[in-house]
Symmetry: C2
Subunit: 340 residues, 2 copies
């Protein structure tokens, strides 16, 4: 990159994608490094999280959060270092989470920021296993899934940021955990590293049959991250009183027409519970999860994998890849090396 | 009827219907009045309940209860008078609920029977507002719907046995209650007698528009009894954190191919909860509801309507009519007049 570091770079939305987004739906613009206003803080971005929900922000369709406007910086969670502060509790050098945007430098109200401990866990993990995706998995399993010993729990996008934590929480509850992932490498990871009991490759010739074989006692809990053909394979296998944690349906995010869903008669017959989850609805869960899971990350009993790409300019391509399943593990952009 | 009352008459399943059942899928057979075995009781049937779930019992498809076999008496809940007893707690003349079958005389294990109080409420109400349909509405609203003051609650099959109670419970919680029913007479009943705030006729020219107009603030709770076009009209209007109590989908029970359901992406986006309910899962609720609601029936604050047909032989036609929405209120068969 030839751009100088005394400018701010921002990735802004150039136009709304129809269907799959492309790299040239975004552009990089440059400007001066901003100054903080009263009660504001400026951070230098170290890590930027790339997550499936971002597809929703590119559309004008009504959702739980407002869309990114054309010409505005794309939204995203970051870990950054404070470089200027008009808040008494935050000083230059502090590491914080909460500044949002695909930008090298971000102005935030101090109240939006949470100071992170240094040295307890790698800083990037606060965007992944210890951050929003981890909390999503934790909330889904705690509030909706509630897996019990001996139950069968199926996790889609099993090697991903949310799925890998969700499955390990189900393991801790004594459940039999079956992952679904794309390709042999991800399946191997789910079985060998995450210690799932089984993992089914959704690209196999007959997914419904493979899943049925992997779940001889049916499915009690399904953590839904992908939708589409995977959802259609899972749904008929749900047991009486089965729970579907509806976290995302990434395989359908680029659809321009919604696919039909399952007939809901079996929801009555089997007393299923299908419930949606947005992590931001219970903000208190973030601190709760960090306190619970940090020791597990430190002692190595909670496994995770990161897919790190370098440079803010790589963010659009990273998101495009994420939406087609090309990433492997929690996708983060190293915007600035921590040692600078 | 020319059959003598010293014989037992039974309505048995002659063949399994494909699609809508017909009267000649059943036949009436006659036999001797049975004697009770050890621990058994014989009842003379006074009232027989006809309910939508019975369609499921005619099919071999896997469900939460086993199907009725060809040649077997059709199943159904009854209120009857004990005529012979080999149980110390039940004596001839006692009125009981719990004997099952489309029969004039039924042999039951005493443990299956619950003695009913005489004079507290009309005996037929123990099959309707105070019985299984009432408990269904109560459980659905208590465990899943949980309507709050000011919320909008939509009830399909609003004038029916379950819907009429569900809506009145939502009224008691302070919600705005909108019914959906078939035809002006049922809608008038829902508004004038049940005191629902509004009622939409699902046979109107544009159901989605009519429902939207009746629910200017969207829908927070939907009590699902009918499925099909009604479900398709309701689903897009659900608000964030909306609850769908999945009790039944009677408009689809005769379908030979399942209709597609809603795409579940909005379950994530709106954090919906879609949950199925079978009343038998919590048997303790029956006594709880009877204790709670009997005073309301006695003081006239819990309204209900019965659709009474006479004679066991009328049961098949009554069921056929129920499945196409021809009944108006809780459908019961007066098998034997109480004064006999």
């Amino acid at each position: 990159m030839s751009v100088s570091s005394d400018h701010r770079r921002s990735v802004v939305l150039r136009r709304r994608p129809h269907g799959a987004p492309a790299v040239h739906d975004f552009e990089v613009i440059e400007g001066p490094i901003p100054e903080p206003g009263p009660g504001e803080v400026v951070t230098h971005t170290l890590w930027l999280s790339i997550d499936p929900y971002m597809r929703g922000r590119l559309s004008e369709a009504k959702s739980y959060a407002k869309p990114v406007e054309i010409g505005e910086p794309m939204t995203g969670e970051t870990v950054g270092r404070v470089i200027a502060s008009h808040d008494p509790h935050l000083k230059p050098g502090d590491i914080v989470i909460g500044a949002r945007g695909w930008q090298t430098h971000i102005v935030s109200p101090a109240a939006a920021l949470t100071k992170l401990p240094v040295g307890e866990a790698p800083l990037s993990t606060y965007l992944g296993v210890l951050g929003m995706p981890g909390v999503t998995a934790y909330s889904g399993m705690t509030d909706i899934g509630q897996p019990k010993a001996g139950e069968t729990v199926v996790i889609s996008a099993a090697s991903g940021a949310v799925g890998s934590v969700a499955g390990q929480l189900a393991e801790r509850a004594g459940a039999r955990v079956v992952g679904i992932a794309g390709g042999p490498e991800k399946c191997l990871f789910a079985q060998e590293v995450l210690c799932f009991d089984d993992c089914v490759d959704h690209r196999c010739a007959d997914l419904p049959a493979a899943l049925r074989a992997a779940c001889p006692n049916g499915i009690d809990v399904y953590f839904e991250n992908v939708g589409g053909a995977v959802q259609r394979a899972v749904f008929p296998l749900l047991n009486d009183f089965g729970r579907m944690i509806m976290c995302g349906m990434v395989s359908e995010y680029n659809d321009t027409q919604p696919q039909p869903g399952p007939n809901l008669m079996s929801v009555v017959r089997k007393r299923l519970r299908i419930q949606g989850l947005i992590v931001g609805d219970k903000p208190e869960r973030f601190a709760e999860w960090r306190a619970l899971a940090t020791p597990w990350v430190r002692d190595g009993t909670l496994h995770y994998r990161e897919d790190i790409v370098d440079g803010l300019e790589s963010a659009p391509e990273a998101l495009v890849g994420l939406l087609s399943g090309r990433n492997f593990g929690k996708l983060v952009v190293r915007v600035t090396p921590e040692t600078t």
